[in-house]
Amino acid sequence: MKNIDWKTYEAGKVWDELIDTENRPRPHGEQLARLLAGMDADELASRQTAADLAIKEMGITFTVYSDETRGAIDRTWPFDIVPRIIAKNEWDTIEKGLKQRVTALNRFIDDLYHDQEIIRAGIIPREIIASSSNFRPQCVGISPRFGVWAHICGSDLVRDRDGTVYVLEDNLRVPSGVSYMLENRLVTKRVFPELFEDYAPLPVDDYPSQLYDALAALSPRDIEYPEMVVLTPGVYNSAYFEHSYLAQQMGCELVEGRDLYVDGDDCVYMRTVGGPARVDVIYRRVDDLFLDPEAFHPDSLLGVPGLLRAWKAGKVALANAPGAGVADDKVVYSYVPDIIEFYLGEKPVLPNVPTWRCMEPEALADTLANLENRVVKPANESGGYGMLVGSASTEKEREEFAKRLKQDPRNYIAQPVLGLSTVPTIVEKRMEPRHVDLRPFILSADQQQVTMGGLTRVALRQGSLVVNSSQGGGSKDTWIVPLR
């Protein structure tokens, strides 16, 4: 059987994370490239099979919704065994940029629910906030501890053709994926132990204890063991695996809305077999609008009546705070460099992807004229839904999309089609480049922590730029390695 020959690897026209344009391994990837080249195709394929089996056995799943099966089905998590490597010195800069960004975003959210100085200073137009579907008037005037609203943030990074790393979006509501980051490392250790002889990637597995510490710091009661819970919408949610995983790792209860209630003293209690037990911190993985039927959707069965009241009264901490999603809006995203300047007086360390706001007439005209070369996204969707990748669309799709765009320009932004970087990926016993992005997680409470790397998602279909697991994406282990 033939071994891998990197000379024949077709990295294509974009940046490959492992192999440069001369078909040589990048410095931090030399040993990996050599090790892979020392294996024949069958050996590699059998490693991949072992990984797939391990994932099945470990029960690592995600849930997809399907009309055909009338509901949700559990799928095993698609994983590629070739890790994605990032040099430590580059990562240091990224980490700095992420901390800066999330600090500024938290200041921004806090400002929006108080004096709105940034609007009064004319940096951000008032109508953007007025028309934002994620601004919660119920949250005005609330001051969460440390001024932090988004305690857990997952920002998506992409690398363009020239090697520049951009922030593609910030997820400040209920970002998911961190459990897969942790499990990916376990699987790699299981099926590819030789790799760890040459490399010592920085460990990722302290995330659950960092998360625990961050949540504990929010407790309204000054007690040694605050009662913390993970609030899940339930077993049919696409991220249920992660909810139960994190609860397990932190050793706290995984609760559903019906397990909790708010009493006359505005405290939150969970119903236990020993009677009511007061809850101090809720890591909620339920969207804002379903959190509390008294305050938001009255027909929500997922939430806890009175929860917002308890939070406002300072009797319970909610992470992320309700209303944090206002900074998740992709139109707001386009202002993040200005937001960083305004609150921190600093230049952004990490650049934004150039973005046209379709609400601005010139930008709209430009977008409509260049749809083929644009990615157009709705301002408040996640999971890759409702977007148009111009370069991969048909004329008919573009025509229909243009109609929607003209009807509701406020709700869209446009960006150039980026040449997302690639990583070698095993495809039918061969190495082929596949596009990736990266989602690091940033924790903010009394202090800030960034995961060592993050979740690398990979578009398994050739040429595809869509990395979402709900749409055919997979993932890779992500290594931060010191350069020798």
Binding site: E57, M58, G59, G234, V235, S244, A247, Q248, E253, L254, V255, E256, R258, D259, M270, R271, T272, V273, G274, G275
Partner: protein, 310 residues
Amino acid sequence: MLSRVAENIYWVGRYLERAENTARLLAANAALHLDLPRGITPAWEPLIAMAGAQDLFEAQHSDYSEPEVIRFMLGSEQNPSSILSSLRAARENARTIRDYMPREAWELINKHHLDAGERLDEGLSKRGRHEYLKRIILTTQTLNGMLAGTMNHDQGYHFLLLGRNIERADMTTRIIDVRTDGLLPLENSGLQAFETLQWVSLLRSLSAYQMYRRSMQARVRRGDVLLFLFQSADFPRSIRHNLCNIERSLKTLPNHESAIRILYQAKSRILSTPVEKMPCAPLHHFIDQVQIALDRVHDEISSAWFLPPH
């Protein structure tokens, strides 16, 4: 521990036990079938009666033929107490409490349910049935052992045991009920010679034959069999044994006073009743009373520790 979690674990215990007991009962009935003289078949209808599913069954089937009854009890989706439905319910309950159970246990419950579905055809065929039922029983026992050996013996574990023991006591009474009533057309049929076979079969349905022999040191007689199944202190599927286990689990839980009171009432009644002397009709009535008592224990557990209904 969360009330919802306690409730789910309790039902995992009940559903697994239900699947196992149904498998035991079907296996014993099929074996009895082979022992009887040609032309005489054990009635299959009582099996449906035992599950309390006559209406459901009759709505879909015109007669109680063996294949139809087996299919209904093994794999029918419409029958909520079929083996497959029980395993599915056990799995669904376990799914929501994955953080409570050792990982391997969840994986085995998951596999148990998948296997039972995938091999259903084997179970429906006469040749494969024995193996199929044996596997259901063995896997459930493996799970019980795994949970005993790897799960914290905390409140959660006691809710599992409560579910298992209440279901087991309930199933034991149901099995005795169908097995002492109308299984064989004994009257005026010249089949008295086979009466012993019937009692052996009853014991076998509960995997109790060997233990009966060891502890009673008597031949297989109706009175002794009933005494053994209701009042043996040692046999793990006897009613008395189950009630003692329930008592032990209840006592580990907070606020157990009223549940214990209900349990004591049931226990003293059962232990003071001379089942060995009871003819068919009063025995049947007594079994009804025991089942009602078990229901009351369940209701008490439910109101003391589970989530209030919406």
